[in-house]
C-alpha cells in the first residue's frame, strides 16, 4: 500500500425507507417519508407520536438491533467471499429493546439478558461474516455510525487492516422514544428539518454497513476520502449555539482529504429537525462555505436512526456519487429564513464528485465524513505512527480507594475489590460539577481529574477515549424505573441525557475544554483495550495529550443481570483507570501498547498472540510480570488459553490473576494497567502478589497484561 486510499467495496442498508440500495434509492427519488405514528410497541397513553420504524423485519431470536445489523452485513458482504479483517459497529441501544421487554416481564434469569451489551451487536456481525480479527464497538450517541466509519478509515490508513466492515445500527426502544419526548425534542407532526415551523425530530431505527478496503475493487462505489471528529465541549445535550464544533469537524474532514469547500458538490446534513440543531448546523455551514453547495437532510424521510444515522447517510452519499441523485430535504415546505440556507426541496438528478456527510450527537459529539468518486482526487497520505504512547499521568479507583489506597490495599490485604461510596469517588470534584452525575460519569470524571493532576501538565488534553463495558447503568435503570412507576408519563430528561454511553466522556470534554476527538468504546470485558486501540489509531504525531479511561459502575439491579461474571451471591466491585497519554518520546515515562486484540479465540489464536508480541525470544527477554485477566464467566476457556500461552512461550515469570484482587467488572483491566505503571515506577512488585520465593524486582522489564476468555488481548506496559 503506497497511499491512504480507502474504497467502498460494498454497502448494506435497512431503514424505514426499505431494505437494500435499490429500495432506498427509489424511496429517495420519490421523496417519500416513512414517518408514521409508532406501532412497534404498545403505549399506555396514546396517541403515539410520529416515529420511523422498519417494517416486516424477519423474526429472530436475537434483539432487534442485532437483526437489523445482520441484515445490513449480509448485503454489504454480497459478492465478497473473503471475510473482513475487522468489524466496527456504532450502536447506542444494543439489546435494549429486548432488555426492556424482559424487565417488564420481571425476568430475573441472567442468561436471558446475554445480548444486552453493546458489544454483542459487533460480535454477532463478526460471527456471521467469519471475521477472525477485531470486533469493535463505538457508542457516541447519534454520531456513532460516522465515528465507527472514521475509526475504520484510520485503522485502514495505518495498515492495521485491509478490509473492514463498519457502520451503525440501532433499534427503536422505550428509552429513546420516551427519552427524546421528555426533552421536548419530538415534532408532533413528524420531523421537517430546516422548516420554519419545525418542532423536533422523529425517532427512528435501522442499520447500514460499508465494506471498506485499501485494495481497489474493480467497481468501487466510492472512496472514503476523509473524516473529521470534534467535540463541542459545551453542553451534555444542546449543540454549541454557533455550531463551533460542527464547523471544526467539517473543516477537519476537508483538511484530512486535502480538499477545499469549493470541491464539495453536496452536503448531507445532520438536520434532525430540532430548532437548535438545525440552527447550529446552518451557522456552521455558513461559517465555512462562502457559497454552500446543494444540501439536504433525509431525516424527514428516514427519521433519526440514531447510531445508524451516520452509516445510513454514508450509503446515501454513495447513491449521490454513483447514481446522480441528490435527495430532497423531505418534510421541509417553508425553509426557515433564519437559517439563511435553502435545502433541496425536491430530489435533484445532479452528479456529485465529493460529498460531505454530517453527524452530531449528545455530548457535543461531532463526526463528519467526506466521500468522493473513485480516483477523482489525489490520494490521502497513509498514517503510520512512529512515536509511542507515553503515559504522562495515571490514576485508578478501586474498592480500596484511589491509586495510593489501592496500592496500600494490595500490600495489606491482597484485595481491593468493592464499591466506594458515591461521595468518596468524587471527593476531588466540586459539588456543583457532579450534581447531575450518577456513579459511572463520576467515576470517569474523577479518574480524568486524578490522571490530569498526576500528569502535572500545563497543556490540557484535547481528546477523550473512554472504554466501558456497561456505561451509565444508574441513569438507564432510573429512567426505565421512573417510566414504569409513572405509567409512562414522567421519566426524567436528566436521566435520559445521562444514559448514553458517551455522557461521561462528554462531561470530561466540557470540564477540560477537550474539543478534539471524543470516542467511547464498549467491548464488554475488553472495553479499555478498545479505547486504547481507538486512541492509538486517532492520535497522530502532532496530537495534544489525550485522556484514555476505562470505567464501569456496579449497579445493584443491573450488574448481576447483565454481567455474567458476577456469579450468584457474589458482591459487586467497580472502579477503573485513567490515563493522560501523549504520542511522543518522553524520557522518564512509561509507555503502553496494545500489540494484540482478536475476538476469534479458535485454534491458532495463541500462536498469533505470541508472534504479535515479538515471538518467544522477545517474550522471554523483555517481560518481568504477567497480569492475566480472566472474567469469571469465561474461567475455563481463559485458563486453557493461558496454559497454552505459557506452554508455547515457555514464559516463566511471576503471574497474577488481577481480577482476584480488583473484583469482577468489565474495565478491571484499566485498574490493572494503572497498577502496572505504579509497579514499574517503583521497580518492584508488592511482595504479597507473588508466590513466596518469586522475585519481586522488575529489573527494567516490561509488564504484559493479557485479556483472556471470549477475546484474546494483550497490553504491554514498559518502564521509564
Amino acid at each position: 500500500m503506497t497511499a491512504g486510499n480507502v474504497y467502498i467495496a460494498g454497502v448494506g442498508i435497512i431503514s424505514p425507507l426499505g431494505v437494500g440500495l435499490a429500495a432506498t434509492e427509489q424511496a429517495l427519488r420519490n421523496n417519500r417519508s416513512a414517518i408514521q405514528p409508532l406501532s412497534l410497541f404498545s403505549l399506555q397513553n396514546p396517541p403515539a407520536l410520529p416515529a420511523a420504524q422498519v417494517n416486516n423485519l424477519p423474526a429472530s431470536n436475537l434483539p432487534r438491533t442485532h437483526t437489523l445489523a445482520l441484515a445490513a452485513a449480509r448485503q454489504a458482504m454480497q459478492g465478497w467471499a473473503q471475510p473482513p479483517d475487522a468489524v466496527i459497529m456504532g450502536t447506542t441501544t444494543g439489546g435494549l429493546l429486548t432488555t426492556e421487554q424482559l424487565l417488564t416481564a420481571e425476568v430475573h434469569d441472567q442468561g436471558q439478558y446475554c445480548y444486552h451489551g453493546l458489544t454483542t451487536v459487533a460480535e454477532a456481525v463478526a460471527q456471521q461474516v467469519h471475521c477472525p480479527g477485531r470486533a469493535l464497538t463505538v457508542s457516541t450517541a447519534c454520531s456513532s455510525g460516522a465515528v465507527a466509519l472514521s475509526l475504520a478509515l484510520r485503522m485502514l490508513q495505518a495498515g492495521q487492516a485491509d478490509w473492514i466492515l463498519a457502520g451503525g445500527a440501532d433499534s427503536l426502544s422505550h428509552l429513546t422514544y420516551f427519552g427524546f419526548h421528555s426533552l421536548q425534542l419530538v415534532d408532533p407532526e413528524g420531523s421537517r428539518p430546516f422548516d420554519a415551523r419545525r418542532q423536533g425530530m422523529s425517532v427512528g431505527e435501522g442499520a447500514a454497513l460499508l465494506l471498506l478496503t485499501t485494495i481497489r475493487p474493480d467497481k468501487p462505489l466510492g472512496q472514503l476520502l476523509g473524516a473529521g471528529l470534534s467535540c463541542d465541549a459545551y453542553h451534555p445535550a444542546a449543540p454549541h449555539p454557533q455550531g463551533k464544533g460542527a464547523a471544526m469537524a467539517m473543516q477537519a474532514a476537508l483538511d484530512d482529504a486535502a480538499l477545499t469547500t469549493g470541491d464539495i458538490d453536496y452536503i448531507n446534513l445532520h438536520g434532525t429537525g430540532t430548532p437548535d440543531n438545525d440552527l447550529a448546523e446552518a451557522k456552521a455551514i455558513r461559517t465555512l462555505f462562502p457559497q454552500p453547495p446543494p444540501l439536504s437532510s433525509i431525516k424527514g424521510a428516514t427519521g433519526h436512526g440514531l447510531a445508524a444515522a451516520g452509516a445510513i447517510e454514508a450509503v446515501v452519499a454513495t447513491i449521490a456519487l454513483t447514481h446522480d441523485l441528490l435527495p430532497a430535504n423531505t418534510g421541509c415546505r417553508l425553509p426557515d429564513p433564519e437559517l439563511q440556507l435553502i435545502p433541496l426541496l425536491q430530489p435533484s438528478s445532479q452528479s456529485a464528485a465529493a460529498v460531505l456527510s454530517n453527524s452530531f450527537g449528545f455530548g457535543g459529539n461531532n463526526g463528519c465524513l467526506l466521500f468522493a468518486q473513485p480516483d477523482v482526487f489525489a490520494a490521502p497520505p497513509t498514517r503510520q505512527h512512529r512515536a509511542p504512547l507515553s503515559i504522562v499521568g495515571c490514576a485508578c479507583l478501586s474498592g480500596a480507594g484511589n491509586t495510593e489506597e489501592s496500592l496500600a490495599g494490595l500490600m495489606q490485604t491482597q484485595t481491593i475489590a468493592g464499591m466506594l461510596p458515591l461521595e468518596t469517588i468524587s471527593a476531588n470534584l466540586p459539588a456543583r460539577t457532579v450534581r447531575r452525575l450518577k456513579r459511572f460519569p463520576r467515576l470517569a470524571l474523577a479518574l480524568a481529574a486524578a490522571a490530569y493532576t498526576d500528569a502535572g501538565l500545563e497543556q490540557t488534553p484535547d481528546s477523550v477515549f473512554m472504554g466501558s463495558g456497561w456505561g451509565a447503568l444508574s441513569e438507564t435503570y432510573d429512567f426505565l424505573e421512573k417510566l414504569r412507576q409513572t405509567n409512562e408519563q414522567f421519566p426524567s430528561p436528566t436521566d435520559f441525557v445521562g444514559s448514553v454511553h458517551n455522557s461521561a466522556a462528554g462531561q470530561i470534554a466540557i470540564t477540560y475544554n477537550a474539543t478534539g476527538a471524543n470516542i467511547t468504546s464498549s467491548g464488554g470485558d475488553y472495553s479499555f483495550e478498545q479505547a486504547l486501540l481507538a486512541a492509538d489509531s486517532l492520535l497522530d504525531d502532532h496530537s495534544a495529550p489525550a485522556f484514555v479511561i476505562g470505567a464501569d459502575e456496579g449497579h445493584a439491579q443491573f450488574s448481576p443481570l447483565f454481567d455474567p461474571s458476577i456469579l450468584p451471591g457474589s458482591s459487586l466491585a467497580d472502579g477503573g483507570g485513567g490515563f493522560c497519554l501523549h504520542r511522543k518520546e518522553l524520557p522518564g515515562t512509561c509507555q503502553i501498547r496494545v500489540p494484540f486484540y482478536q475476538n476469534d479465540t479458535a485454534a491458532g489464536a495463541i500462536d498469533k498472540l505470541i508472534a504479535a508480541l515479538g515471538g518467544k525470544q522477545t517474550l522471554l527477554s523483555d517481560y518481568g510480570l504477567l497480569m492475566a485477566g480472566i472474567p469469571a464467566a469465561a474461567d475455563k476457556a481463559g485458563r486453557e488459553q493461558l496454559a497454552e500461552f505459557l506452554s508455547k512461550s515457555m514464559l516463566n515469570i511471576p503471574l497474577v490473576y488481577y481480577r482476584q484482587f480488583t473484583g469482577q467488572f468489565a474495565s478491571a483491566s484499566a485498574v490493572a494497567a494503572v497498577l502496572a505503571v505504579q509497579f514499574l515506577h517503583r521497580g518492584e512488585l508488592p511482595s504479597g502478589l507473588v508466590a513466596a520465593g518469586e522475585p519481586t524486582a522488575l529489573t527494567g522489564k516490561k509488564i504484559l497484561i493479557l485479556g483472556l476468555g471470549t477475546a484474546i488481548t494483550a497490553m504491554a506496559v514498559s518502564g521509564p
Binding site: 421528555s182 426533552l183 451534555p236 445535550a237 444542546a238 450534581r435 447531575r436 421519566p491 430528561p493 436528566t494
Partner: protein, 88 residues
C-alpha cells in the same frame, strides 16, 4: 413569603441535587435559568416534569417556558393560576 414558593425551593434543591444550597440561599426573584444556581435547559425540563407531575400544570411551549421559569416567583404564580386545584 408564601408557602408555595417555599415548597418549590425545597423541590428544586431535591430534583436538581443542589446539595450545597439551602432553601434560604435561593432568592425567589433572582434569574432562575443561567443564574447563580447554574440551572440550564436540562434542569428546566426536569422542572417541567415536576410541575406537571406534582401540580398538574403542563408547560410544553418554549416561549411560555421562558417566562414561567424566569424566576421562582413567576413559576409559583403560573402554577397558582393554572393548576386544576386553583380553578376548581
Amino acid at each position: 413569603m408564601d408557602a408555595l414558593t417555599e415548597e418549590l425551593k425545597g423541590k428544586l434543591i431535591g430534583i436538581l441535587n443542589l446539595t450545597d444550597v439551602q432553601p434560604a440561599d435561593i432568592d425567589e426573584n433572582a434569574q432562575l435559568v443561567g443564574g447563580e444556581l447554574g440551572i440550564d435547559s436540562i434542569d428546566v425540563l426536569e422542572m417541567v416534569v415536576m410541575v406537571e407531575k406534582e401540580y398538574g400544570v403542563v408547560i410544553n411551549n418554549k416561549n411560555i417556558g421562558e417566562k414561567v421559569f424566569s424566576t421562582l416567583t413567576a413559576l409559583a404564580d403560573y402554577i397558582r393560576t393554572n393548576s386544576p386545584a386553583a380553578s376548581s
